[in-house]
């Protein structure tokens, strides 16, 4: 009995390759006909064995074509990447088959059986997704309860913002400074005025009507704008040599970092009004905005502190030896270097901020997730939760994935410079 005869070797490469390929191809043929043509070509076998035939056949095939240093470049690459051992071959097959099995119902639900045309739930006759729901509610999902005729104001505010940001990237350094100052200090007032109205002939729209995806952007933009400087101040405070300031900063940072955002939002919505004089009223959106800003500022402070600590002591000493005071030293020497070090951390904090915005629905503000909650409980559109949340998840995923890719690229770019 010579079992070595069965071991794939380079000498008999053609035989083994042919035999192995036949097994693998048959395995894939079986699973493909099973999934897409609904025909089980191994139906004559007992059910359990028939179910596992592709796995068994593919496994044998992969074993037969696993020839070390075969000389065939493609085969070597294949073996190295997906077929380096029995266990690896098994996992490869398992993953491929699961993908094949999962992809057909997924595509059916998403596209083939889905309904795209129509204007009410009755138009959704297929078994798939009812994208009519998203189409009909699209305006609400984007703008919340903002009046239809006034939605151009939201659009123009965002178009203005994106154009300004776009231009700021391309204009020469000299003018860029003024652009950025305009963006940070003037544009927010223009944007708010445009959205809320009340003067210049614009109809007043109360903040309770703001909502949808545009609210996500508004909250993110303002929270980013404010949490960054506050975070830098807190980080400097935590590193300060003055004990009172240091301890207050530590207490502040740890307080916010120790509690979940949801309790902070409750605090802003329910507890904070109790602290104001009777009769004063601060808009709920502003209260929530302050809460999110302070919450994220604490996280930002820890990121910036990491940058401050990473700077060598020599930088501080050199700045002091030039006779610089505390503020001049920090603004001109320390912060530019420290902030550059922690750009990835800052980007991650901002990403977390964007992912946290849907939470505001707990205090009754309706951004994208909240609007879907509202839409799916509409009596005419019951049972549309799946479509709604898949859509919202897709939208958020695109935004967050783009942000995280951007931060990774930034990180790579900076690390090669060093």
């Amino acid at each position: 009995m010579n079992l070595a005869y069965l071991k794939p070797t380079k000498e008999k490469i053609n035989t083994f390759l042919l035999l192995g390929s036949i097994f693998v191809i048959f395995a894939f043929f079986d699973i493909l006909t099973n999934t897409f043509l609904n025909r089980n070509i191994t139906g004559f076998l007992p059910q359990t064995i028939s179910f596992f035939t592709p796995l068994i056949l593919g496994y044998i095939g992969f074993y037969l074509i696993r020839i070390e240093f075969s000389g065939n470049r493609f085969l070597d690459k294949l073996n190295k990447n997906i077929n380096s051992s029995n266990f690896n071959a098994f996992l490869t097959l398992l993953i491929l088959f699961i993908i094949i099995k999962a992809i057909s119902p997924l595509i059916n639900w998403l596209i083939l059986d889905a309904n795209f045309v129509g204007s009410s739930k009755d138009d959704c006759t297929g078994n798939g997704a009812c994208w009519v729901f998203i189409k009909v509610w699209f305006n609400r999902l984007m703008y919340g309860l903002y009046p239809d005729v006034e939605q151009w104001r939201v659009n123009s505010a965002f178009i203005l913002l994106f154009t300004l940001v776009g231009i700021a990237f391309f204009v020469p350094q000299k003018i860029k400074k003024y652009f950025i100052i305009f963006l940070l200090f003037v544009y927010p007032f223009i944007g708010i005025k445009l959205l809320s109205g009340g003067s210049f002939g614009l109809v007043y729209v109360e903040t309770a009507a703001w909502g949808g995806l545009s609210l996500t952007f508004i909250i993110s933009a303002f929270a980013i704008l404010f949490c960054f400087p506050i975070g830098v101040f807190l980080a400097l405070g935590r590193r300060s040599s003055l004990p009172a300031i240091r301890y207050i900063s530590i207490g502040f940072i740890e307080l916010w970092r120790g509690v979940p955002l949801i309790t902070v939002l409750f605090m802003a919505a329910v507890m904070f009004p109790m602290f104001l004089p009777d009769g004063t009223f601060i808009d709920k959106l502003i209260r929530v905005l302050i809460a999110i800003t302070l919450f994220e500022a604490a996280y930002m402070a820890e990121v910036v502190r990491g940058g401050l600590q990473a700077l060598p002591k020599g930088q501080y000493e050199a700045a002091k030896s030039l006779g610089m005071g505390y503020w001049r030293m920090n603004i001109l020497i320390i912060l530019p270097q420290a902030l550059k070090l922690v750009i990835p951390g800052i980007a991650n904090t901002l990403l977390a901020l964007v992912k946290d915005t849907p939470l505001i629905f707990v205090v009754g503000l309706m951004e994208l997730a909240g609007m879907i909650g509202l839409a799916k409980t509409n009596p005419k559109w019951l049972g549309m939760a799946m479509e709604g949340y898949v859509f919202a998840g897709l939208v958020f995923w695109v935004i967050c994935y783009a942000m995280s890719r951007y931060s990774q690229n930034l990180e790579k770019k900076l690390s090669t410079e060093r």
Partner: protein
């Protein structure tokens, strides 16, 4: 001489002024808020205090680990919420760790497909807000489960339905003796490890500690079953007809869909971060370490156990603890799908009934805060202990 003295005093004063100003501002803000709060509460006819905690709660909680109904106090309701928070956190941490380690190791696999699949898992689940994932599981995925009479049946032992997951109930006799036997087993394993370490260091003898401890862990509890009168029986869930179209399961334990959705979403979301930590930790151990270990003749298992893991764990554990903490804090999102955790029971329902916003929100925040601070203190202690001691 004189000049120098003035300078020093100047510096002292310069340091003092901002500190005094900050403290004064802080105190005045707090004072302002406190006076306002007092006036506001006075207007509403309530006074600050925690006496309400012993009042009758008069609301029911859908899911509770300890006995609770409307006749119990608000303090008890808080405890129920806290226990539910801990329950979902522990389940979430357990699942997230398993999934995270698997995905993290898979990302390092030399199999291209496995590494890519794991990478896409991380990219997809990390970049969708957690609250949307919870909503997806609760409102979309788990709502697609069948009704009790058509339940997904797992070998007649447990049933998955739209109303929850019914599993057998454990009925213990002499449960305390079983617990003592488990403690005894762990204590003896501890001593076994100490003895094995001594043997290894003094005589170079290597004992099969893993097999031995596994044996101890099985044998001692088994002994308690056979000789000390511990016994365990299962109450299997049974289908029961309530009315013509309404069915339910009885006798088992029901895991409510809220808990399932929350635990699933929390663990799948947190697992992505844990996977990244695991990957960073294993990659952080230099290749030279493994080669050096192999060159002195350690086996593959020994290299993993004695060289790679101790160094990788030093990198993995601190950020992973942070993720556990995040998971616990994120479990407060339960309030969105009506899982009765601390935030829902206490900061929402109890607050609505009593109107005591300041006390209730403070208690809730302080509970989370003390949890976070105690874990970070523990972490600092661990980091100091594990830090590489340089000469």
């Amino acid at each position: 001489m004189n000049l120098k003295k003035i300078n020093i005093e100047n510096k002292k004063i310069r340091d003092l002024i901002p500190q005094v100003l900050t403290v004064l501002t802080l105190i005045s803000v707090i004072f302002y808020f406190a006076t306002n709060a007092q006036i506001n509460m006075g207007n509403r006819g309530i006074s600050f205090g925690f006496g309400f905690l012993s009042q009758e709660a008069s609301f029911d909680i859908a899911f509770s680990l300890i006995e609770f109904d409307g006749s119990y106090s608000y303090g008890r309701a808080f405890l129920v919420g806290l226990l539910n928070t801990i329950l979902v956190s522990v389940i979430g941490i357990f699942l997230a760790t398993i999934l995270g380690v698997i995905v993290g190791v898979a990302r390092l696999s030399d199999n291209y497909l496995i590494a890519k699949t794991a990478e896409w898992y991380v990219e997809i689940f990390r970049n969708i807000p957690l609250i949307l994932q919870i909503f997806f599981w609760y409102f979309a995925a788990l709502r697609a489960l069948p009704s009790p009479e058509n339940a997904i049946n797992f070998y007649d032992i447990s049933y998955l339905t739209i109303k929850g997951w019914y599993i057998p109930k454990f009925v213990w006799i002499n449960f305390d003796i079983f617990c003592y036997s488990l403690i005894l087993a762990f204590v003896s394993i501890y001593f076994l490890y100490r003895y094995a370490k001594k043997q290894r260091e003094e005589f170079g003898k290597i004992l099969p500690t893993f097999t031995l401890s596994l044996g101890i862990l099985i044998l001692i509890p088994l002994f308690s079953f056979l000789l000390l009168g511990v016994s365990l029986t299962f109450n299997y869930p049974e289908l029961k007809q309530l009315s013509e179209t309404s069915y339910t399961y009885e006798n088992g334990v029901s895991i409510i869909p809220e808990l399932m959705a929350l635990a699933l979403a929390l663990s799948m979301y947190t697992a992505t971060f844990i996977a990244e930590n695991v990957r960073a930790g294993v990659m952080g151990v230099g290749k030279g370490q493994k080669e050096a270990a192999a060159s002195i003749g350690l086996t593959k298992g020994q290299i993993l156990k004695l060289v790679v893991m101790p160094q990788a764990l030093r990198i993995i554990i601190p950020p992973t603890t942070n993720q556990y903490l995040n998971l616990t804090k994120n479990s407060s999102l339960a309030a969105a799908i009506a899982y009765p955790d601390m935030v829902l029971v206490f900061a929402k329902t109890a607050l609505m009934q009593t109107g005591r916003a300041i006390e209730i929100i403070s208690i809730t925040m302080l509970t989370y805060l003390s949890l976070s601070i105690s874990i970070s203190l523990l972490m600092n202690w661990y980091n100091k202990k594990m830090a590489i001691k340089e000469k």
